[in-house]
């Protein structure tokens, strides 16, 4: 460890910044594949390796004197694993030393994510860490680095609002619905249309706990398929008003060129509902719901423009948090540096202490049979105090210099050389 060089840490990244979706799909690795790859790469590099792979990013991290060659070694294995030629594999973005450390911390904080501030990446970094810990051999340097990354990621999430406010149309719709209905245990969701957009919204509501779905669609066949998929009920489109009376939330996503709900229809629906709240989400283009519908007291209407505006605002809110998040990351990089310096100094302190104690024991041996037991006891106590006081200043110097970063390499070497120390990692 005392021979640590910053350039021994390397990161190789494939993300939305430098690859296409197809390339990222090709490089995405399962946990099983990572578990298989890690020991092989460790052997080749004679160092530590970690792999982070998500649906949108694959990254290799190494701590080794050969870290800069990681991609050269791993690309052959990956090409073989995927059964493709080497030329198909894209070139990674490379980071070495401090930029590599900063990169991992930024990834963990979701500053590097396609959707800025998305919440899943931290769990994925933890997963990469767990996979590395699962190896038989230890990875002390990357272990610590990943711990710093996870801690900084958590702090960014608690101390900033970088991850708050949803940034997709469907998740914003779910958020709004939650603000009206709380949870979806007793909430019925009507999907008007059974296309990809409607189903995507349904998946989000299902993920948030919704279980009661009604699907109203022009084509019965498609509507029935969607209903089966969601465990819901199909209703023909001409019974849309009845469906709206029964539902609490209605998502409109059809290709209809005319309004499916107008002022008169909503008046009848709301009368039948006894004015119980109705949340209408219109994500169709052109609109399926007449704008006057929202004049009704209990109707909350959000169309695609409204939702996109909220998404844009949330995204802006997240972007405003970037400087704060970066400050947190820089503070962790500073802590990482302190940790590194301490790691370097601690073995030297241990060796210094052993060195002085060794001299003391040698000298005491000389007097074992020359003095009385009582005198020997006095000598023991005296020598112990003397050695402690003598080593106090150099040890304090090392500790303080390591903490405040003023320790120079040649100073440490001088202490080692002066006392002929042999620091152990």
């Amino acid at each position: 460890m005392s021979n640590y060089k910053p350039s021994d840490i390397g990161a190789f990244s494939f993300s939305h910044r430098n690859t296409t979706l197809e390339e990222r799909d090709l490089l995405a690795l399962s946990d099983h594949e990572i578990q298989d790859l890690l020991p092989r790469l460790r052997d080749i590099l004679q160092g530590e390796v970690a792999i982070l792979s998500t649906c949108n990013r694959t990254e290799l991290y190494a701590y080794s004197p050969f870290a800069k060659h990681l991609w050269e070694y791993s690309r052959n294995i990956l090409a073989e694993l995927r059964g493709v030629s080497l030329s198909i594999l894209p070139e990674p973005a490379q980071f070495h030393g401090h930029p590599a450390i900063r990169h991992l911390l930024r990834v963990s904080a979701s500053l590097e994510s396609l959707a800025l501030g998305e919440d899943q990446i931290l769990a994925q970094v933890k997963n990469a860490y767990d996979l590395m810990l699962g190896l038989d051999d230890k990875s002390p340097m990357l272990d610590q680095l990943f711990q710093f990354a996870i801690r900084s990621g958590k702090q960014v999430r608690t101390d900033t609002t970088l991850c708050q406010g949803n940034v997709s149309i469907s998740s914003v719709s779910v958020d709004l619905a939650k603000k009206i209905f709380g949870n979806f245990k007793r909430t019925s969701i009507l999907l008007v249309g059974a296309g990809e957009t409607a189903m995507n919204a349904a998946v989000h509501f299902h993920g948030a706990g919704a279980r009661s779905f009604i699907i109203a669609n022009r084509s019965e066949e498609r509507g029935q398929i969607a209903a089966t998929r969601l465990g819901g009920e199909y209703m023909p489109l001409h019974r849309l008003s009845d469906a709206c009376v029964r539902a609490d939330i209605a998502v409109f996503a059809t290709g209809s060129k005319q309004h499916l709900i107008d002022k008169e229809t909503i008046d009848n629906i709301m009368r039948a509902r006894r004015n119980k709240q109705l949340f209408l989400i219109d994500i169709s283009n052109p609109r399926n719901i007449a704008p006057e519908v929202e004049d009704h007291d209990g109707v909350y209407l959000f169309n695609i423009d409204h939702l996109e505006k909220i998404v844009a605002e949330n995204l802006r809110g997240r972007e405003d948090q970037i400087p704060l998040a970066e400050e947190i990351i820089e503070s962790y990089i500073a802590r990482w540096e302190v940790w590194l310096r301490e790691r370097r100094v601690i073995p030297t302190i241990g060796a210094l202490s052993r060195h002085f104690m060794g001299i003391r024991e040698q000298e005491l041996k000389e007097h074992v049979n020359r003095v009385s037991p009582e005198e020997y006891e006095l000598l023991e106590a005296f020598s112990k105090r003397l050695v402690r006081r003598m080593q106090h200043n150099p040890i304090m110097f090392l500790r303080e210099a390591a903490e405040n970063g003023s320790l120079r390499s040649d100073e440490l070497d001088l202490i080692i050389e002066l006392h002929k120390l042999q620091p152990k990692d």
Partner: protein
């Protein structure tokens, strides 16, 4: 001994309410989707609030026992009863909820009343009370009246929250109101529950008041303007609730109606207390 315990509780109650309010305020500041530390969840849970309710109720009973009369003899005792009633009603309306998200508002009101109570409280030996305060039915009448008004006040505050959130949703403003208030349907339920409870308690309170007036007092004008106005305001509340039920009024309109009804009730009480001659004086 009893006086020492009461003095200790005089100080303990406002401090404990303030401490609880601070914790609820801290929870309120956290984003709703953020995991709360376990200790914070425990403190803002129902159990500490139930304990506070029990201690405060115990304090009120002890005070009553010590002076051998209902503890309604002065402003301090009235404020304390008001604080207790608001806490009790609020907890009752929140009984189905996992967490009491509106604690910042209601505990704030409770703490304020209890601070006033603490500041104005006088030792038992210095208190005097009319003989009427020893009448058990009179005490229950006042208790139900205070609880009823507290419930209607809680319902009105919920109605304000409902209006604010509904308007924010209508105007698509995703600011503080949107972020911090509980879901619309939950506010609507607690508002309804508090209002119905208030009407019920007030009904009992008024009935008991009539009984006390008829049988416990020497000379009472059955058409005393203050009593008639209060009865009418209560009847108006009932008519309003029945209309809402029958007509299926909901949403914002119901919020405005609840709020307007409470304002009218309070104005009626205030005007009748200030300007109308009556045998009856409201507490204080």
């Amino acid at each position: 001994m009893t006086q020492t315990l009461l003095t200790l509780l005089d100080w303990f109650l406002p401090i404990a309410y303030l401490a609880l309010w601070t914790v609820h305020a801290r929870t309120f500041r956290l984003p709703l989707d953020q995991d709360r530390p376990t200790w914070l969840e425990r403190i803002t849970g129902k159990i500490p609030l139930m304990i506070m309710l029990a201690i405060h109720a115990g304090y009120t009973i002890l005070r009553g026992l010590a002076q051998q009369a209902w503890p309604l003899s002065n402003k301090a005792e009235f404020f304390s009863l008001l604080a207790l009633s608001i806490l009790a009603v609020w907890l009752f309306t929140q009984r189905d909820e996992e967490d009491a998200q509106t604690g910042i508002f209601f505990l704030g009101i409770t703490a304020t009343f209890q601070i006033f109570a603490c500041a104005l409280m006088i030792p038992i030996k210095d208190t005097t009370h009319p003989i009427l305060h020893e009448n058990p039915i009179y005490g229950v009448h006042v208790l139900f009246m205070v609880l009823g008004f507290a419930a209607l006040a809680v319902g009105a505050i919920d109605a304000i929250m409902y209006i604010l959130l509904a308007r924010a949703l209508k105007n698509r403003e995703m600011g503080l109101v949107f972020q911090k208030l509980p879901p619309l349907i939950r506010i609507e339920e607690t508002s309804k529950r508090a209002t119905v409870t208030g009407i019920f308690l007030l009904g009992i309170g008024l009935s008991l008041g009539h009984i006390v007036a008829l049988y416990g007092l020497d000379s009472v004008n059955p058409w005393d303007p203050k009593i008639v106005l209060t009865d009418l305001a209560w009847l108006a509340y009932i008519v309003g609730m029945i209309t809402i039920k029958l007509k299926g009024l909901g949403g914002l309109r119901m919020g405005y109606l609840s709020l307007a009804a409470f304002i009218i009730l309070m104005l009626t009480v205030a005007i009748s207390s200030l300007y109308l001659p009556s045998f009856h004086s409201f507490p204080g």
